[in-house]
């Protein structure tokens, strides 16, 4: 069947005058290792360059080559960058998944597919565009070995024509992507142009999706959360980094390595103002962080769920012996190995009390790439101020996917190195005790090895105010109560939650982290579809602050939106709140490994409110009707 025939016979789903501008999602289904990432990023960036708000999400397998992978690009004029549940435009390149991919589309969607897949017979309510990729690539790339790599650029070319994306913007994005690789640029440009030419000649536009220039991305950047966090760590003055490879965390230290090698080499000596160690496991990684933090360095590691589990013993030591350190947890789906390449907010409850005995840890919860950057700096300050570990709870969606953001600003605040006594300062103190609460805030003063200040013996065993070994009940209780007091003090220092919308609204929502973007979109849906006003409190840290209690007091039912099965943040809130307040909390959960989407939240809240006629259809979504 010739491609022109396909175009002629496929049924059009929309009347010609129906135009949907800058509001659609494109999903590229391919196999991993096929080199589609360049084509996907060029597509994403060309939309961005045209001023259209975009986000890019990679749904990839835990595998190196040969398994299905999907890259989803969302363009949205209103700035919604959360995942869109429905796919509007499918690029079907993977023979293994093509059938299921097509069958799962909503009516009216468009499908661009590799001609031999013969997909157009599957449905009559979609728009199909068949493209003979192999024929086109053979014409532009004579080296058969390279064809696989440039083939993907053809769908960019076809899409540029179908969606009205300027080819010059794709050209620009491609050159930027490939840098100085002249040969690669030449081949890919040829493929891009061939795809565009093919579409012009053979494909009649029958889908409703169009791109038009906007001006919504001026001054913005495109970046992944892990890279943003790496920038924040570098700007925070981190000096010791120990890590162990684990998806989806690895790109944080790896990006950090590239930045540090470029920007943190002493100009005079040519030597590094940092040490980065790939440790033998996560236990060693956090052990090095604890050792370095104890010796006065700003030290960090980055990991994900399995690494967090391994780090728990050291986390307890750092809590009890009061050693600073920063741990990034780029959360993925558990338990156990779980779905290593899918996203979740599944470590919240675990990390809050990581380790045996009574422990509590400060958590910072970024919702944006910008907060990955700023909270990295806050984390180091808080770790040294409170002489404890600070966990930055990012996730795969935030860490590894590409997000639009205002450009980051340079930090003006000086580093807070906390309560450190040097040799001279100790002379001023009548009697220094390492674990003595002099200021009433629970935070003692420490001395740094090698500084000439008096020494103390650091231990994970019971100790008194002077750091001496003690099994006395009163010493133990006194110390534990001081640690609790110190944790209370942290409430005044952690980033406060952000209230969006007015108090006393119809519907109250609490959310955190990467769920933020879907929640914001859901609020608009709730207003549009149910006329409901919403008050939304975005948590940014643990311990909770008084704003949360005030928020709860203003509402009868509060929907806590999170990406895990067991309502972990809700549970943590109930531990901290009065029973009366805790009883007002309702679960809205999403935990199928895909980033949470607005539609799922809206449907669930409306169902629980008894407003929606439409029952929830997402099996991964569980409501709480208590």
């Amino acid at each position: 069947m010739a491609p022109t025939d396909v175009a002629a016979h496929d049924g059009a789903a929309h009347p010609a005058h129906h135009r949907i501008v800058n509001d659609f999602s494109i999903q590229v289904a391919t196999v991993n290792g096929s080199g589609s990432q360049t084509a996907n990023l060029v597509l994403l960036r060309s939309l961005f360059q045209m001023g259209v708000p975009v986000s890019g999400k990679n749904m990839f397998p835990s595998n190196i080559a040969g398994l299905p992978t999907w890259y989803t690009i969302r363009a949205n004029k209103d700035g919604y960058v959360g995942r869109k549940k429905e796919i509007d435009f499918l690029v079907a390149m993977n023979v293994e998944t093509a059938r299921e991919d097509v069958l799962s589309l909503e009516s009216g969607a468009a499908v661009l597919y590799d001609e031999p897949l013969k997909l157009s017979a599957l449905r009559d309510d979609l728009v199909f565009y068949a493209v003979p990729f192999d024929k086109i690539v053979a014409q532009v790339c004579h080296d058969a070995k390279l064809r696989r790599l440039v083939k993907n650029m053809i769908y960019d070319g076809v899409l540029s024509r179908l969606l009205n994306i300027d080819l010059s913007e794709m050209d620009h994005a491609l050159r930027r992507q490939l840098g100085k690789k002249a040969k690669a640029i030449e081949l890919n440009l040829a493929a891009l142009e061939a795809g565009s030419a093919f579409a012009q000649e053979h494909l009649a536009k029958r889908d409703p999706y169009w791109v038009e220039r906007m001006n919504e991305t001026a001054g913005m950047i495109l970046v992944e959360g892990n890279a943003a966090a790496a920038m924040g760590c570098m700007m925070a003055g981190v000096t010791v980094i120990a890590w162990y490879p684990i998806t989806p965390s690895s790109s944080l230290p790896e990006t950090l390595i590239s930045y540090m090698k470029k920007y943190r080499i002493d100009k005079d000596s040519g030597k590094a103002t940092f040490a980065i160690v790939q440790a033998e496991d996560e236990i060693a990684a956090i052990g090095m962080v604890v050792g370095a933090g104890w010796a006065g360095a700003r030290a960090m590691t980055s990991t994900s769920g399995p690494g967090i589990s391994l780090m728990s013993e050291f986390a307890g030591l750092a809590y009890y012996a009061e050693v600073p350190g920063v741990i990034f947890d780029i959360q993925r789906v558990g338990p156990s190995t779980g779905l290593p390449t899918r996203t979740a907010q599944g470590d919240i409850l675990k990390v809050a009390t990581l380790s045996h005995g009574d422990t509590k840890h400060i958590m910072l919860i970024p919702a944006s790439v910008e907060e990955c950057y700023t909270m990295a700096m806050v984390a180091f300050d808080l770790a040294e101020r409170f002489q404890t570990l600070v966990f930055v709870m990012s996730d795969l969606d935030l860490g590894m996917n590409t997000w639009m953001s205002p450009a980051f600003t340079y930090p003006d605040a000086p580093l807070d190195r906390g309560k450190i006594l040097d040799a001279a300062a100790v002379q001023q103190v009548a009697e220094w005790g390492r674990y003595r609460d002099v200021d009433g805030d629970g935070i003692p003063y420490r001395t740094i090895p090698g500084s000439g200040a008096p020494a103390y013996f650091t231990r994970g065993s019971g100790h008194n105010e002077k750091g001496q070994y003690s099994e006395r009940p009163d010493d133990y209780v006194h110390n534990m109560e001081r640690l609790a007091r110190k944790f209370d003090t942290a409430r005044d220092y952690v980033p406060k939650p952000i209230l969006i919308g007015a108090l006393d609204s119809d519907i109250a929502i609490v959310g955190y982290g990467s769920s933020h973007w879907a929640i914001e979109e859901s609020r608009d849906q709730l207003a549009r579809e149910a006329g409901a006003s919403t008050a939304y409190m975005r948590l940014r840290a643990y311990p909770f602050t008084e704003e949360l209690e005030a928020f709860i007091d203003h509402h009868q039912r509060i929907y806590v939106v999170e990406q895990n099965r067991d309502a972990q943040m809700l549970s943590l809130m109930r531990l901290a709140l009065s029973a009366e307040r805790g009883a007002k909390l309702r679960k809205v959960l999403h935990y199928n490994g895909l980033p949470i989407d607005a539609r799922s939240i809206t449907d669930e809240i409306l169902a629980q409110e008894g407003i929606s006629q439409k029952p929830s259809v997402t099996p991964a979504l569980v409501g709480d009707t208590e």
């Binding site: 120990a242 040519g270 590094a272 440790a279 060693a284 956090i286 604890v290 010796a295 006065g296 650091t458």
Partner: protein
């Protein structure tokens, strides 16, 4: 009532510090525990080498041995960390401040069982830490269970016989690329002191496995880590003489019977051969000797292997000369132009 005594000149070391300053808290280990003798030798070695305790950090894991850092160098910062993980804590501390002199004390369980992974990687990295294993072949603090260094056929007090192959930490360390490997006996004051002093002159990891009998749980007939057994089966590979860099002593020796090794800080090590022609810079010979003596039921002691010029981990990482921990902000926070450049690359 005031009693005046004339000020007698107190004995001090080369940096003017008294011996008492190198002492620590009162030991809580059993009377006669080999570990206490090791603590005494550590005190002597640091005193005699004239090392400022304020520049020393003491590290340990968990167990009887790991308690001992509280009993020496009381004015040094100490860190009794978690079981088997002292190497990582020490690595982090040394990275934070390369000027610190780190001494870690571990046990045979802390090293050979729970901590074998971190031990292995510490040896590979050649992190500048003195790593002492106080090796008694059993778990003292939990009342005498076998550890992974217990010899085949060695008997517990309860009569249980060990039938698993022991881990020889010295042979393993050499295999892993350690640059200073020694074995000694807590009862051999002279040898242990010389080895400790030499280790203080070494750049890189110095592993010292010290057979240190457990008087409570492993000092009986049938144990191969008892005082009596070790005394009978100690087989020094050479007599260790150490001349520190700050002592201007010329040693006359017979080149045919003594091997001179120049340490990284300029100190000199003289190893007088005892029985065989032993060269501590010959890795293969060192491993062979360890295994051959073990087969005879003996312990080869002394400095078994030394590679004074092997680059340490800090050199490999190319870290600045100053402590990372205290670099001023302007050296660790890049300027506005760096952030601007990064932002431009993402637009």
């Amino acid at each position: 009532m005031a009693v005046t005594t004339p000020d007698l000149p107190k004995k001090t070391n080369r940096i003017g510090l008294e011996h008492t300053l190198y002492r620590g808290g009162k030991t809580t280990l059993c009377a006669g525990c080999g570990h206490n003798a090791i603590s005494e030798r550590i005190i002597d070695a640091f005193y005699e080498m004239g090392i400022d305790p304020k520049e020393v950090i003491k590290l340990s894991g968990i167990g009887c041995s790991s308690k001992s850092p509280a009993y020496f160098l009381g004015t040094s910062h100490g860190f009794n960390s978690v079981h088997g993980r002292m190497p990582s804590v020490g690595t982090g501390a040394v990275l934070a401040n390369r000027r610190l002199m780190a001494i870690g004390v571990s046990g045979d369980g802390d090293t050979g069982a729970i901590g074998i992974g971190q031990f292995v990687h510490l040896m590979r990295r050649n992190v500048p830490i003195i790593y002492i294993i106080e090796d008694n072949g059993c778990y003292g603090l939990t009342k005498g269970q076998f550890s992974p260094t217990a010899d085949i056929g060695s008997k517990l007090k309860t009569g249980v016989v060990n039938d698993l192959t022991p881990i020889d930490t010295c042979a393993l360390a050499i295999e892993l690329g350690a640059s200073f490997v020694a074995r000694s006996f807590s009862g051999d004051k002279k040898q242990l002191l010389s080895i400790l002093k030499a280790s203080l002159s070494h750049r890189g990891t110095a592993l010292i496995d010290v057979i240190s009998p457990c008087v409570t749980f492993n000092d009986h007939e049938g144990s191969t880590k008892s005082y009596a057994y070790v005394k009978d089966h100690d087989e020094p590979v050479g007599e260790v003489s150490f001349v520190p860099f700050f002592e201007d002593i010329s040693v006359e020796y017979d080149a045919g019977t003594t091997k001179e090794v120049q340490m990284h800080d300029g100190s000199k090590l003289y190893l007088k051969k005892v029985a065989e022609d032993y060269d501590p810079t010959d890795k293969l010979n060192a491993v062979r000797t360890i295994h051959e003596t073990a087969q005879r039921g003996e312990f080869a002691t002394g400095i078994l292997y030394v590679e004074p010029d092997k680059p340490d981990f800090l050199e490999l990482l190319n870290i600045v000369d100053e402590p990372l921990a205290t670099l001023p902000t302007d050296r660790v926070r890049p300027g506005r132009e760096v952030l601007a450049e990064l932002m431009d690359s993402l637009r």
